[in-house]
């Protein structure tokens, strides 16, 4: 069989940071290749290269070669990819809600008939040939084995059907040779997912190659002909599916073995003194919805919350601090917390370092000093000069505390008056942390503390979290996409998948257990 696509030794780095390192595999026509890997393993970067997205060219291109149908190709834009016959079904739906299914399937490839006017004026005045559009759309849906009325508008369609419409749009392109599916089953129910997999099989049987990106390992095993696993930008596995199993894939995805001594908090024991109890929390945070989270946080521990992106782990702390509408119940020190109100959690003695540093965490145009004490001014009314009904920021009293924090956290700056927007990412994160600590919280939520900062600052921040936990007795809940980071500092790690707690593991639990929980396989113990 001729090879359809060959990724030949692909390398890519973003400003010195290697994200793809020698990825090399082949796809035959009609073959389904599953592409697996943790978040940040390089899957989306590889797809961005295949589709010629702007980010790649803007950050200095890539090394290596893509060979498509025997010819070396340089894809400059998604349109180029489309012309080559490479189609993609995105994770978020790319459908126009007010258009019918048929019009969406044929969007910008409509069947046209000349009209009276179009004979003398531009082609854009040709009329749509609606019967033909409906017929061809129905044909494409039929080939997938789906019975969806092509004349219904998409906004009236059940969410589970939209994915099929997207696929129908791709296979309706007569030149389609390769179809990329990015976590296509994430929004589908089980029975829908099953139909979907059958549907993909049909597509492949028609001679179209499929790249299938999924975290559901069961699906990977069931559907794919071969499996490619990326880890930290390296291709660690490329095998036929029949030669492997779920556990091996899970093990390989997480990979790296952690040195036992790097785990700081194994086997610390705590009394059952519950400082925070979350019951059936449901947070409507776009892109990170949680459905039903129940968790207990013990006083004095460091609890990690992990899981894949999009499964709702970040929504928990955001829901408790009132950033997004939430339902359920939260008890803090035995008393119910009205978490719908912004500021309530702060007033009760909790603090939050948001994952959205620039949006929520910082006043970018203000000084370090003001940023650090701002929350405390609101919550504890410190650092204020009071004049009857009015009060004013008291720079002097703040100065001492701010300077101490700058020293303690090793913030590289010209002084407390420097504008926060000019600091590097790592130093900005330290300012966020300082701001939360100045309020003297008993319970600290930290979300993605090391996102986008350099390794030195990373280690310092993690060590600092452990230090304040041990010295000041602050209970800490850390949310992070980086599992190893959680394992380094946490006493327990809760894995969130599909909006619920899949299980809670000790930091020294085997890799496989973590990987299986993340991919939605129930297991593990508390």
């Amino acid at each position: 069989m001729d090879t359809l696509l060959h990724f030949k030794n692909i390398k890519k780095s973003f400003s010195g940071n290697v994200v793809l390192d020698g990825v090399d595999f082949k796809i035959q026509p009609g073959q389904i290749v599953a592409l697996a890997g943790e978040n940040g393993a390089g899957k989306s970067t590889l797809m961005n290269i295949l589709f010629g997205m702007n980010v790649i060219a803007e950050t200095g291109g890539y090394e290596g070669e893509i060979i498509f149908e025997g010819k070396s190709v340089k894809v400059q834009s998604p349109l180029d990819a489309m012309e080559l016959g490479i189609g993609m079904v995105h994770q978020e739906f790319m459908l126009l809600p007010g258009f019918t299914v048929a019009r969406n399937i044929k969007l910008n490839r409509e069947n046209l008939i000349p009209s009276l006017i179009s004979r003398i004026t531009p082609k854009s005045y040709q009329m749509l040939d609606n019967p033909q559009i409906i017929k061809e759309a129905a044909g494409a849906l039929g080939r997938l084995g789906m019975e969806i009325n092509p004349e219904v508008t998409v906004d009236k369609l059940p969410v589970g059907h939209m994915q099929f419409v997207e696929i129908a749009r791709e296979i309706d392109k007569s030149n389609l040779k390769l179809l990329v599916l990015d976590e296509p089953t994430a929004v589908l129910t089980e029975s829908e997912a099953e139909r979907f997999l059958k549907c993909i099989r049909k597509v492949a049987d028609a001679g179209i190659a499929v790249i299938f990106i999924s975290h559901r390992l069961d699906e990977v095993i069931q559907l794919a002909d071969s499996v490619v696993i990326l880890r930290d930008g390296q291709m660690v596995f490329d095998e036929k599916t029949e030669n492997t199993d779920k556990h091996q894939i899970a093990e390989l995805m997480v990979g790296r073995k952690l040195e036992a001594e790097s785990l700081m908090n194994v086997n610390r024991s705590f009394e059952e003194d519950i400082i925070l109890e979350i019951k059936h929390l449901r947070v409507n945070m776009p892109g990170e919805r949680s459905r039903d989270v129940s968790l207990k946080v013990r006083r004095g521990e460091i609890l990690g919350i992990g899981g894949l992106a999009g499964h709702g782990k970040t929504s928990i702390s955001n829901g408790i601090f009132g950033m997004y509408p939430a339902r359920g119940s939260v008890h803090y020190k035995g008393r119910p917390l009205s978490f719908g109100k912004i500021g309530e959690a702060l007033n009760q003695g909790m603090a939050f370092v948001s994952e959205d540093r620039k949006g929520v965490g910082l006043l970018l145009n203000e000084s370090i000093a003001l940023n650090m004490v701002y929350t405390d001014m609101k919550v504890n009314r410190r650092f204020l000069k009071k004049y009857g009904f009015f009060s004013q920021f008291d720079k002097k009293s703040a100065r001492e505390v701010v300077e101490q924090m700058i020293q303690e956290l090793d913030i590289r700056c010209t002084g407390p008056d420097q504008i926060v927007g000019r600091l590097s990412g790592g130093n900005q994160q330290k300012v966020c942390m300082a701001r939360a600590l100045i309020t003297k919280p008993e319970l600290l939520f930290v979300s993605e503390p090391t996102r986008g900062i350099d390794i030195g600052a990373k280690q310092l921040l993690l060590n600092y979290l452990v230090k304040i936990n041990k010295e000041q007795g602050i209970t800490i809940v850390v949310t992070s996409s980086e599992l190893n980071e959680l394992r380094t500092i946490c006493d327990r790690i809760a894995i969130i998948g599909s909006g619920v707690v899949q299980g809670i593991l000790a930091p020294d639990a085997p890799n496989v257990d973590f990987a299986l929980l993340m991919s939605g396989e129930k297991g593990g113990n508390t």
């Binding site: 998604p78 349109l79 489309m82 790319m94 459908l95 126009l96 809600p97 007010g98 258009f99 019009r103 969007l107 910008n108 409509e110 046209l112 009209s115 006017i117 179009s118 082609k123 854009s124 005045y125 040709q126 009329m127 749509l128 409507n284 509408p325």
Partner: protein
């Protein structure tokens, strides 16, 4: 369970009321106004009909940008300016009658297309803020327009027709009057009394549906519900209209008393047909796609920026035609201010008809023109009868015009909040 059902029905009624709040409000105001104004029916029907023919194209000009997701096009003011420039040019060459209007239109075509193109380019730089940009652009364009005609005409730009110039030879006089042959030249081509016109239109609609049914029967296709119900509806309306005319003397008299300009009507129909036709073409489909989601349209290879410019060009061109019809109907225009209210008044009328900044069709335009201009006619009269002060009604109609725009925009924002809440409720 039952409470859930009632709450669902409640949401439905609430939605219905909110969706049509502005239209319903105006309906009530108009009915109350007509009763209070206490005018003969012939006067009211006559005034409404003449204003309908005068303004409708200007309102129709707003539709295409709404489809493209650009909101209400306040910059149709530029199209109005193009039409005025056209008239100034043809008056300068002392043209008269239909020729004057035709030349004016020919001059305004390239101008309005140019203005529309530039406006579209500007809008592409300010995506999401098209409405406020269009409004400010209108003020800015007025500055240039004033500069050209107030100071440059005469000293710099030669003017042949000296009656156009002010006595000191600098700047154009105001208002500019069309001569008797030009005034209402299009209207005068063919005037028919309103009762005959209504009969004619209804018969034409009936014929249209009948012909379509015949055509399908000959081709042995299935006759869809649309044709048969259309045919039935037009027969019914015809019958009701006939009975109304027979039973009410004053009604019949009012209709006979009112003459309508058929040629202008045909022009309006042509514009309506063009807009309907446009929405069925590839271009119209692209415009709708861009309006629904620019990122998705772009990812499918639709050149969104180009489509948006085209939409504004179409709108500006139609606005020029509309202003030309408006001016020929009135017979003169104030040189420096005639275009000022074109945007606001047309937009207010369209919103009154039930359109929103996301959705607008020909029906909204016609209903809006009827309601808005009814209010325009009767409010000074109602004010005079109520408070013995016509000034009050005058004040009221200007106030209401801006209030409508504000209320419609606020309602639009409120609606999206409500829709989101309903959606969240359903998710439970």
């Amino acid at each position: 369970m039952s409470s859930e059902k009632t709450s669902k029905a409640g949401v439905f009624v609430k939605k219905l009321l909110i969706n049509n709040a502005v239209t319903l409000l105006f309906f009530v105001i108009c009915i109350a106004g007509i009763i209070l104004a206490d005018q003969p029916m012939s006067y009211i029907i006559g005034e409404i009909s003449s204003r309908l023919f005068r303004n409708l194209i200007l309102i129709l000009a707003l539709l295409v940008p709404v489809w493209a997701g650009m909101g209400m096009n306040f910059s149709i003011v530029l199209g109005a300016m193009a039409a005025q420039i056209g008239i100034i040019v043809s008056t300068n060459f002392s043209l008269s009658g239909i020729a004057c209007l035709v030349v004016s239109f020919l001059v305004s075509i390239p101008l309005s297309l140019l203005f529309g193109n530039l406006t579209g380019r500007l809008f592409n730089q300010t995506k999401g803020q098209e409405m406020i940009t269009g409004m400010i652009l209108g003020f800015f364009a007025k500055g240039i327009y004033d500069l050209v005609f107030m100071f440059l005409c005469g000293p710099v730009i030669p003017v042949r027709n000296e009656s156009l110039l002010l006595t000191n030879g600098i700047g154009l006089t105001t208002p500019i009057n069309l001569d008797n042959a030009t005034k209402s030249a299009i209207n005068k081509i063919w005037m028919v009394s309103l009762d005959k016109a209504v009969y004619g239109v209804l018969f034409l609609i009936l014929l249209f549906f009948a012909a379509r049914m015949m055509g399908k029967m000959i081709k042995k296709q299935k006759i869809s519900g649309r044709e048969s119900s259309g045919l039935l509806a037009s027969v019914l309306v015809l019958a009701v209209f006939y009975l109304l005319c027979r039973s009410s003397e004053t009604f019949l008299f009012a209709l006979r008393f009112t003459d309508v300009p058929i040629a202008t009507g045909i022009l309006i129909v042509i514009v309506c047909i063009y807009i309907t036709f446009l929405s069925k073409t590839k271009l119209g489909s692209d415009i709708h796609a861009v309006g629904q989601s620019m990122p998705i349209a772009v990812s499918m290879g639709i050149p969104a920026d180009k489509i948006r410019i085209t939409a504004i060009m179409i709108s500006t061109l139609l606005a020029a035609l509309g202003q030309l019809i408006f001016i020929q109907d009135i017979g003169n225009f104030t040189t420096y201010t005639a275009h000022e209210n074109v945007g606001t008044f047309s937009i207010a009328a369209l919103l009154v008809g039930g359109a929103s900044i996301k959705k607008a069709n020909i029906g909204h335009a016609i209903l809006g023109a009827l309601l808005f201009h009814t209010m325009f006619i009767i409010s000074p009269l109602a004010g005079k009868n109520l408070f013995d002060n016509a000034q009050l009604g005058e004040y009221f109609r200007v106030f209401v015009c801006y209030a409508v725009i504000a209320v419609a925009l606020a309602l639009h924002a409120w609606k999206s909040v409500l829709a989101r809440r309903v959606e969240e409720g359903e998710e439970e």
